[in-house]
Amino acid sequence: MIVKVQKEDFDASAACAEMATVSGAGALVTFVGTVRDYSDASDILSMEIEHYPGMTEKELERVSMQAAKAYDIIDSLIIHRYGLLQPQDNIVLVAVWSRHRAAAFDACRFLIDVLKSSAPFWKKEITPQGSRWVTDCPGCRAGSREGHRHSVPSAHPDQRLHSS
C-alpha cells in the first residue's frame, strides 16, 4: 500500500511496474484522472491544485486501509499531484492489484470515489474570465455511471457528458 503526493508528473505504467514485487496478483486495475479543458461553459487554461500537507497523506493512507479491509486485494498505489497543471495533464493515479478482477475493479472505484470526498485537495480553475475555485459537484462525488452534465462550450460537443 503506497501513497504519494507530489508536484511531478507520473507515468502510470512505470509507476505500476515499480510495484512488480506484487506477487500472487491475477489482475491490475488502474484509474488515471486528468485535467479537463472545459467547465461551466468556459475553457480552462490551467488548474492549480492546493492540498493540506500531512493530512492529505494521512487521508489517502486511511482510505487505502479501508479498501484493503473491504476488498480481497493484494496491494494498492495512489499518486495525487498538486501545483499548477495544464489541460490533459495527469492529476491522480489509483492502481489496485488482486487475485481476481472483480475485487480490483471494485476497490479501484471505491478508492477514487472516497478520496474525492475526503482527501483535502482543492482545485482552482484558471479561465479566460479569471480564476475560480471548483465547487463540490454532487454528480462527481456520486461517480454517476451514466455521466452527468457540466456546461460545455459548443466547441466541445463531443464532451457533453463525462463520468470521471
Partner: protein, 80 residues
C-alpha cells in the same frame, strides 16, 4: 496556543494561511475557535459547507480542542 490553518477559498477570505489563538484552561470547541477566527479576521466563515479538521482528521464543529492542537478550516474538497 491553538494553531489554526486555512485552505483554498477560506484562506483567501481570512487573508492568511494560519493564525494562533490563546487557549483557555477549559479548551474550546472547534465552533468556538471558528468564532474567534471570524472576530480576528473581520469576516464571517460559518456556512453549511464549511469543513473542519482537528490534528489532521475530519471532525464536526462540536469537537473539543485543547492546547497545542492544530485546527483547520476549509471548503468541501475537490480532489481526484
Amino acid at each position: 496556543m491553538i494553531h489554526v490553518k486555512f485552505f483554498a477559498s477560506v484562506r483567501e477570505r481570512v487573508g492568511s494561511a494560519k493564525m494562533q489563538l490563546a487557549c483557555p484552561p477549559g479548551g474550546f470547541t472547534v465552533e468556538e475557535v471558528l468564532t474567534m477566527v471570524e472576530g480576528q479576521a473581520g469576516t464571517e466563515l460559518h456556512d453549511a459547507h464549511l469543513l473542519a479538521a482537528l490534528n489532521q482528521q475530519h471532525v464536526p464543529l462540536t469537537a473539543l480542542v485543547k492546547d497545542e492542537d492544530e485546527v483547520a478550516f476549509f471548503p468541501p474538497v475537490t480532489g481526484g
